[in-house]
Amino acid sequence: MSDDISNKNQKENKGRSFAESELVQLITGFVKAIISNKIVRRTFLNVFKGIAIIISIAAFFGFYLYLTPFLQDAGSKTDYKPVTYRINTNNREYKRQISALKSEVSLLERKYRSFTPGQSFLVINTTGNRFYLYRNKKIIREGFCSSGSYTRLVTPEGSREWVFKTPKGKFWIQEKIVKPLWVKPDWAFIEEGLPVPPPGDESRYERGVLGDYAMSLGNGYLIHGTIYKRLLGMPVTHGCIRLNDEDLEIIFNTLSIGSKVYIF
């Protein structure tokens, strides 16, 4: 039985060594063919050179662009070791300095917190086209709105231009209007290819397009309603902030004249 197994193993080993020697022969033959054939040899050399050049260039850029900044960061060590252990906390001078620092920090914290109004205020995110209504420093309502489209409108002659963007920063409600009337500015006519009427012309007044309420932020910018409700959440306005009827009513009733509006 054991003889049978050893014979089988020997046969297998013989077969393997035979296959290995065949493989070696094949490779040697292939190498010999390359060496003997001038064209193949040249092609191989050129391919090898190309690969070497590519690797060198990659190594060169890798060294300058990746390894050096890495070394820079690794080398930015000094003898300074931040020690974070407690020292003699019973020391009178230590106690005095820590308590002075603590009161300084709490004073600064109070000052910083005082910037946030305790009354209601509105935050507008013009990139995400969302609004957040705050009362007592907590969000009480949030939803979609529409802000400036960032369109630069130029007259065909190029003599006048407007950029329809919502200004960013801190504003306050300057006026609250019920059933607002839209006094159409020049761009509203130019945009539609209509002749611009003189100021005070009847065609400049339009009712109902701004919704039931409007709140003025100054410089002609309003927070108002819209008839294009499907466009809420998109940047499509001429700089004003559009809201849906329900949100507009809540915001109108929550904010008062002087309430802050933060736009970013």
Binding site: L65, T68, D73, I87, E104, F115, T116, P117, T127, V154
Partner: protein, 267 residues
């Protein structure tokens, strides 16, 4: 004779290769030395400029600088100081709180938008400089002077008005399905750089765009070091803060901050 000439040419080319190799090695060594010196110089500058100056009169308990309570309070104090300084302006600013992994957009001191930072990397200069000096440096906001980004700050669309009503076409709603890869670098007057990278979440295209953006920055940096080498000057090292956040949030930060905006760091 011909063989001699050939040998001479081969020798000459060998010498040229050797000289070029020596020059390349020397150049690389010089480049590396200058690059490595730069952060150490920056640390020395921070320690000297913002380090604690002993009062001429009166005693001060010096060992307190190594106390963890003091360090924590001092860091908090610096962050509040920087935020209060930013609050004096009515424009949008950014507060980065690294221990909390949050970035907050603020207007006039009012936090208006909170962003979760997925991961962050901070230059070792901050950790290896004198603790008190770094806190002092961070007690004033950083002022943005320039930025590099993959998106436009203001995505303005040009439109020529129609001549009459026959030419008029109503505006189509904006295409919100377009993918934008958001990667930004803010350069500050103080030399610190804030990188805001979009977190790729396994998206290979987003990763590729971030790599290209990063590679461009590395090229700019290498070119800057080369320029300094030519002028025999040590390049100025720019400590960095790298924030990885979702693309939507990165876009909001970039578009909200004004061209010459400010940001504060709490570490």
């Amino acid at each position: 004779m011909e063989l001699q000439n050939q040998n001479r040419i081969v020798k000459k080319s060998n010498v040229t290769i050797k000289i070029s190799a020596i020059i390349a090695v020397l150049f690389t060594a010089y480049f590396v030395i200058l690059s490595i010196i730069a952060p150490s110089k920056k640390i020395a500058y921070i320690n000297k400029e913002f380090g604690y100056k002993k009062p001429e009169k009166g005693a001060y308990y010096d060992s307190i600088f190594f106390d963890s309570t003091f360090i924590t309070l001092n860091r908090e104090k610096s962050f509040y100081q920087a935020r209060i300084a930013m609050a004096t302006s009515d424009s949008v600013s950014l507060s980065v709180n690294l221990p909390d992994s949050s970035a907050i957009l603020e207007i006039n001191g009012v936090p208006v938008y909170n962003i979760k930072i997925i991961r962050a990397r901070i230059s070792k200069v901050f950790a290896n400089s004198d603790e008190y000096a770094v806190s002092s440096m961070l007690s004033t906001p950083f002022n943005i002077i320039h930025d590099y980004s993959t998106i436009k700050k203001e995505p303005v669309v040009h439109k020529v008005a129609p001549r009459d009503t026959t030419e008029y076409k109503p505006d189509a709603p904006p295409d919100t399905s377009k993918t934008e890869y958001v990667n930004v670098i803010f350069e500050t007057r103080e030399g610190v750089r804030l990188h805001i990278f979009q977190e790729t979440n396994g998206n290979s295209s987003a990763f590729f765009h971030r790599c290209i953006f990063d590679l461009n920055d590395r090229f700019r940096n290498a070119f800057y070091i080369l320029k300094c080498m030519v002028n025999f000057k040590t390049p100025d090292y720019h400590p960095y803060i790298k924030l990885y956040i979702p693309a939507r949030e990165a876009r909001i930060i970039y578009r909200a901050l004004p061209q010459k905006g400010q940001f504060a760091i709490f570490r």
